[in-house]
Amino acid sequence: MRLFENLNIDFMRKRNFFYLISSVVIILGALSIIFRGLQFGIDFKGGSEIAIEFSNPIEIGQIRTEVENIGLGNVEVKTFGGSTGILLRTELQEIPQSILPKVKSKIETIISNSFPGVEKKIIDSTFNSITYSFANDSISLAVSERLNKAGFQTTELNEEETKNAIVVRLGISDWIKETLTEKFANNPFTVLKEEKVGPKIGQELKRDAVIAVFLSLIVILIYLGFRFKFIFAVGAVAALFHDVLITLGIFSVLYGVIPGFNLEITTSVVAAFLTLVGYSINDTVVVFDRVREYLKIHKTLPLEETMNRAINKTMSRTIITGLTTLLTVIVLMIFGGEVLKGFAFALFIGILTGTYSSIFVASAFVLEVASRTNRKVQF
């Protein structure tokens, strides 16, 4: 089968049209980033997140109303996977001071309801834990088990001076679990995953992500600078910038628009950015490689014509490879599960823009610079 045989389109002549398209998309994306912002995942923002799976399908609105009133402020509630999975997230990492007493009294109610008349003593109390001491080992164990069941995390202490004592953790996820266990007693859930990321880690990850993206652009610039004329390397990197910007913009524009797609910037989305940088450069290199070859053969041909020929000749390969990669990415998007959706989506957009930019941006950039400076590009 042949789809693009003897293609002969004057791409370079139409470059102003493509500039327009690219600029419009980038500007729209940038506006959206400025006004709507980018939604960062928990990796970068810090906070607590818990994904649970109920045994029976559950109405997401129901959960939302329940967690609205537990004093954690703004808790995001989303579906996770199918109709039984729920993802809850807050930017908080510790339970706020204002509701600590409520949490504590809840714990004590559970203890006194389940073990009427049991003697307990608070021997230590901090912002994220309370330590109770009991008369003997078996009571402390039983209480610990009961609280565990209610969703709290407990630790039995075995140190000399604090025998028979348990530490009850007062964490965000404990409090959420406790509330939901109580409210949805007839629909028990299991915890799928639990994450807590401190603000410092988030900062570092953000920094690392930015460094990684820029570093890869620089490395590519240097490598291509050696292999091709420097101007080609700049053109290739400009195309990469274009790809990353457009993908970021689309993430911002489409956040919350497509149901079932969680378009947050997470570490795996950043990984997807780097992959698209690597992928998109493939396309560009293939075109440039052909330009290089033709420049050697047809020394007298104007650059514009050479580029057109190179692009037309490699078009078939560019589209076919883009297509096979796109097919696998679509498979990942549909069958890869919740965790990979954002990643696959970033690649999906990236491959589209990458293919586009290697044809229309990278070469056009080189041509533009060459014609402005009136220099003859050669190898």
Binding site: M1, A51, E53, N148, Q153, T155, L157, E159, E160, T190, V191, L192, K193, E194, E195, K196, V197, G198, Q203, L205, A209, A212, L215, S216, V219, I220, Y223, L224, T267, S268, A271, L274, T275, G278, Y279, I281, N282, V285, V286, D289, R290, E293, K313, T314, S316, R317, I320, T321, T324, T325, L326, L327, T328, V331, L332, F335, G336, G337, V339, L340
Partner: protein, 624 residues
């Protein structure tokens, strides 16, 4: 033909190597199935016998049983060790990043901290949260601008600020080392399979605990202070008769029921095991019985613990003694043995009294020693204890595991003790760390915590593999439709690529994560790129009227530079991603990099050989 043969050998070699490296993974998969079935029937029978059993207890029993089954058969273990490691996101587990709380440590180290110091410290701590600088450095700077010398709070008056600062940083890194030792001790004790505990930078620890069944408890293990105790060993005259009794009780019981002893051993050993079930597992170090230490094989520990917790055995062990193991195994003939001691349950002294400990080389004998200093209260107690127990042995126990059991030579007054007879300086250093763990608990905060439940992991695995074969199917069909016979060759190349990726992953002990699987799926899409480049070029060359042979020849030759340049840049981004990513993302970078190398090999060597072979046989080649 000759030039093909050489490449053919390389290809077959690579293929055989991948399959060889992947075999343990397959074996492990089969083993798991087998063990799973066994456990299922066990759990059914327990439920039948004891319908009231709580699910937590049942889980506990099953988990113990699973551990002991997996530990008992060396084949299981070796397959497990060599299989492709699954990341935490696939097998479920806990990932923690812990950081030593330097501010807290400084507060503990400071002598007479006043209000001003506390004020400066809390400012320094706040600042450190937003900057890269260490709390120590910030505090030092703050004190300098206020004109306060550091020696006011730390070290001695003769030292200058730079020295003190350096030493405080050392203390910080010591605290991390200590915390790592404490954590690994507890984790090992707990029997988490394949835990990973790593130091990152100067003040961070990354803990990975795969397998989540006891996750809640595992988290408890990691926090809280280490408990250091000194426990007196029981004399052999006391311990050995008790061991004999345990042995008798077990032998009596075992003669009526099925034994748990390994039946593959020789008959005499089997007989010995039957008659002495206890001593078969816990072999006395000294057969004459002058000391009561016993060696227990690592794989036997679980079995022995189960035996010792039987009610009839518990009855013959006095209430005030217990068995404890050494923390680190001794290795003899490739088998790991743990020394087991019988000690007083009641500790003589706890580690809170230790002020300092130091590993050194004894100048007189040039043997490694550890010195330790106690506070005055501890020193008084220590004098009394050592005084009345000269000639006896005292175990140094951290969190229930012994690190050393030196003999008390004489009464130690004044609180300065010296432990000698340590085989090497590394062990002396370890003992120093352990002794200090009682003295200066390392304040450690959990700053990142990720837990993946086993069901999510299982889902991810099946989703990953579904995407893999579906992705392959779609790409393969597309290639066949578009390039006909040549497409089929590319498809064979992709299978070869995937085998190579997995084989290399297994061989280099790489970890497969969900993004890693995504990387493989993606590689399938991109792997055909090299083929597409070549095929398109061949088509072009054919169109210029070249013969098939010449077209193939120049098709491969002319697409080489493009293939090389584009793949190397992608490889670079993979390297960068590996450097800056964490956990699952590194898994992605890894498969991406291996994938590039493997797909280049398939396209440039394997597919080329297929072409050359067909040309030499005069077969028809269709490039679509």
């Amino acid at each position: 033909m000759k030039e093909i043969r050489f490449r053919l050998i390389i290809i077959i070699g690579a293929l055989a190597l991948s399959l060889y490296l992947l075999y343990p993974t397959y074996q492990d998969y089969q083993n798991n199935k087998e063990v799973g079935l066994k456990l299922e029937s066990l759990s059914d029978s327990i439920k039948k016998r004891n319908p009231g059993i709580s699910s937590i207890e049942l889980k506990e029993i099953i988990q113990n049983k699973k551990d002991s089954i997996l530990a008992s058969n060396p084949d299981y273990k070796s397959a497990r060790d060599k299989r492709i490691k699954l990341g935490l996101d696939l097998q479920g587990g806990m990932y923690l990043v812990m950081e030593v709380n330097t501010a807290k440590l400084l507060e503990r180290l400071a002598k007479d901290p006043d209000e001003q110091f506390k004020q400066l410290l809390s400012e320094a701590e706040k600042e450190s949260r937003l900057s890269e600088e260490n709390v120590v450095t910030i505090l030092a700077r703050k004190m300098q601008t206020k004109g306060i010398r550091m020696s006011r709070y730390f070290g001695s008056i003769r030292e200058d600020d730079a020295d003190i600062q350096k030493r405080l940083l050392e203390q910080e890194s010591d605290a991390v080392t200590r915390a790592i030792e404490i954590i690994s001790n507890r984790v090992n004790q707990y029997g988490v399979s394949e835990p990973s505990i790593q130091k990152q930078g100067s003040r961070r620890i990354i803990v990975e605990l795969p397998g989540i069944s006891r996750e809640e408890e595992a988290k408890r293990l990691l926090q809280g202070r280490a408990l250091l105790e000194f426990k007196l060993l029981k004399d052999p005259e006391f311990a050995i008769p008790i061991m004999n009794r345990i042995d008798e009780v077990l032998a009596a019981k075992d003669s009526t029921s099925k034994t748990t002893v390994d039946t593959t051993k020789q008959l005499t050993e089997a007989e010995f095991a039957k008659q002495h079930p206890f001593f078969a597992l816990a072999r006395l170090v000294d057969p004459q019985g002058r000391i009561a230490d016993a060696y227990v094989k690592k794989s036997d520990r679980e079995v022995l613990n189960n035996l010792l917790s039987r009610p009839e055995v518990v009855k013959v062990i006095p209430d005030n003694v217990e068995f404890i193991y050494e923390a680190k195994p001794e290795i003899a003939e490739g088998v790991e043995y743990y020394r087991m001691y019988m000690v007083n349950k009641q500790a003589e002294l706890t580690g809170g009294v230790i002020v300092d400990a130091q590993a050194n080389i004894d100048p007189m004998t040039s043997a490694p020693i550890v010195t330790m200093q106690m506070n005055s209260e501890g020193a008084r107690e220590w004098a009394r204890i050592t005084g009345s127990n000269v000639g006896k042995r005292c175990a140094i126990v951290m969190d229930g595991q012994a690190y050393s059991a030196p003999t008390i030579q004489n009464k130690i007054t004044g609180g300065n003790s010296q432990i000698s007879g340590i085989p090497n300086l590394d062990e002396a250093k370890l003992l120093e760390i352990v002794l200090k763990a009682g003295a200066l608990p390392a304040p450690i905060d959990i700053i990142e915590e990720r837990t993946v439940g086993p069901s999510l992991g299982q889902d991810s695995i099946s989703q990953g593999f579904n995407s893999m074969w579906l992705g392959y199917l779609i790409v393969a069909i597309f290639m066949i439709v578009y390039y006909k016979k040549a497409g089929t060759m590319a498809d064979i190349g992709v299978i070869f690529t995937i085998l190579l990726i997995l084989g290399i992953l297994a061989g280099f002990q790489g970890t497969l994560t969900l993004p890693g699987i995504a990387g493989i799926v993606l590689t399938m899409g991109m792997a055909v790129d090299a083929n597409v480049l070549i095929y398109e070029r061949i088509r072009e060359e054919l169109a210029t009227g070249k013969t098939v042979k010449a077209a193939v020849e120049s098709g491969f030759k002319h697409s080489m530079s493009a293939i090389f340049d584009s793949n190397i840049t992608t490889f670079f981004t993979g390297v960068i991603l590996y450097q800056f990513g964490s956990g699952p993302i590194q898994g992605f970078a890894l498969t991406l990099m291996i994938g590039i190398a493997a797909s280049l090999f398939s396209a440039l060597v394997l597919v080329r050989v297929m072409f050359d072979f067909m040309i030499s046989k005069g077969l028809k080649i269709q490039v679509g």
